[in-house]
Symmetry: C2
Subunit: 322 residues, 2 copies
Amino acid sequence: MATTIKDVAKYAGVGIGTVSRVINNEKAVGERTRKKVMDAMKELKYSPNNMASQLRKNETRIIALLVPVVNHPFFAKLAYYVEDEADRFGYSVILVSSQQRVEKETEIISRIKRREVDGAVFVTHYMHEEQDLENCPIVSIDRAFGKNIPYVTSDNYDATKKALKYMIERGAKKVGYIGSKPLVDSEVMERERAYLDVMAEYGMPARIVNEVMQHGEETAVVADFMEKYADVDGVFVSGYTLSQVFQDTAIESGKKIPEDLQIISYDGVFRQWVTSHITSVEQPIEEMARQVVRLLIKKIRGEETCSRTVLKTRFVLGSTTK
Amino acid sequence: MATTIKDVAKYAGVGIGTVSRVINNEKAVGERTRKKVMDAMKELKYSPNNMASQLRKNETRIIALLVPVVNHPFFAKLAYYVEDEADRFGYSVILVSSQQRVEKETEIISRIKRREVDGAVFVTHYMHEEQDLENCPIVSIDRAFGKNIPYVTSDNYDATKKALKYMIERGAKKVGYIGSKPLVDSEVMERERAYLDVMAEYGMPARIVNEVMQHGEETAVVADFMEKYADVDGVFVSGYTLSQVFQDTAIESGKKIPEDLQIISYDGVFRQWVTSHITSVEQPIEEMARQVVRLLIKKIRGEETCSRTVLKTRFVLGSTTK
DNA sequence: CTGAAAGCGCTTACAG
DNA sequence: CTGAAAGCGCTTACAG
């Protein structure tokens, strides 16, 4: 049996309420009594039982982070900063890898309802139907999946547009787009929209492959693209894995980069956690993580939140553009 | 106010004990009653409050995972599998990035005492003094930091020995070792021991740099090594980041690999999460993660555990050896 | 198979 | 400033 607040109270000769007040650092405790209680706690090696206070306060101080997988540079980095930011507010982070499994998502919702966690950050979402997530403190990245779910995103449209124009100014005439299509409404689709708009603006035909794809299908998709549009001299790639696969394939095909083919990636390619020298639109992962956590905590506290936060990307020149 | 077990009991016209039994799937409930209760739960959209049952059962079903950083391929992969395995046993994982901060470690210990988590996996440890971690369900990877802390490791000594001999058989005559020294007792030191033993066995002088180093100091350490032992024609590198930095530096220096210089790495280098073609001793990360979780759960349950589990590495040939 | 009751270890009005 | 008491929402012997 661990020592409880009762033991401490008895030992210190005070009421348990007083001990509680000391634990919670309330000012309304006399210096004398406080000292007595502190000593008793030390003497008895007392640790307050968190489960009990959780129950009383109805808060767990835990949030869940749902990502597709953790062992992926983008999500790992995100997880890192989410944890760091949460910690600043006294929250812990439970990590959940959804692994494309839809149930994981509804599972988190029930965990909120069961009061296992106070709220959740959704980085993926497969839910199509509007669930009964009223009052559920949930926030998200890139995708709006409910009217009451605030989210953080980056300036997908503008950044893509800018990147494409950059490429075209450097001589790209046959510009393609390759991406993996999100399953649900997502700001990521803004990239495609930007691409199509730019093509229209320059009167260029669209060379696009943007399909829903499973992890592992990248190679096939890239092959498909390369076959369809063998003549491209500039490509915008959306997404990490795809970027890497595309770059590798392009190099293997014997194309000179950037002479024959310019490449710009949204997200860049990570090489040992360092963005390699692909020209890319870099998302402010740290800032996205911190903002999304702050949003969530506001929601948990019942404060007003901004429903859509757009953060600026950085355009990083690499060696894959002229 | 959320609906509680009381509401359900009243609605179903049964006692709260019965509702509890239904929730927990106990067999000792009549078919009739069970149905009534189930219906009531559905009708009232009841979710059992986990905090309350935690308090009663004195378990949180949460474990903590302490890693130096998550956004590093090794730890991210580990985190992924730890989460996956924990999930199978009905446990959630709280992620803690220690970031070299010693307090984080003792903090977790208090969190166990405070019953915020049921146990913890320590992948780093800075603690020198034996803490009062009796009865604390803690397990660890690679390093023994207490007599009662079971851990999982890989066959550091044998694998290193084998790798070095492989290199020597392919003609390496001036063999060096470069590593970052752990702060505390760790099985990682077995690699150095293996190196020294092999050198002794072959009558070769040791060319070694194995210092305690901070993240970010790798470049300087590699430079130091290269200057001291400019003539090496075979090097064993211990650790991810170091391997990558070393490989890059070696290439930049104009050395032909593997002609002028053979390299073998413990851990390999990750390129976009794919081990690149460096010859390496690969740790069975997934297996280590799963084993360590199972160890922890046994400890939590108070079962007997094996105090040291050694898993086999794989020797993977790449293009950095002849 | 089922209900009434005690109790898990706290927090928090309430009264003094 | 402090204590006694109620209660957070469950689980679990206990008795039937």
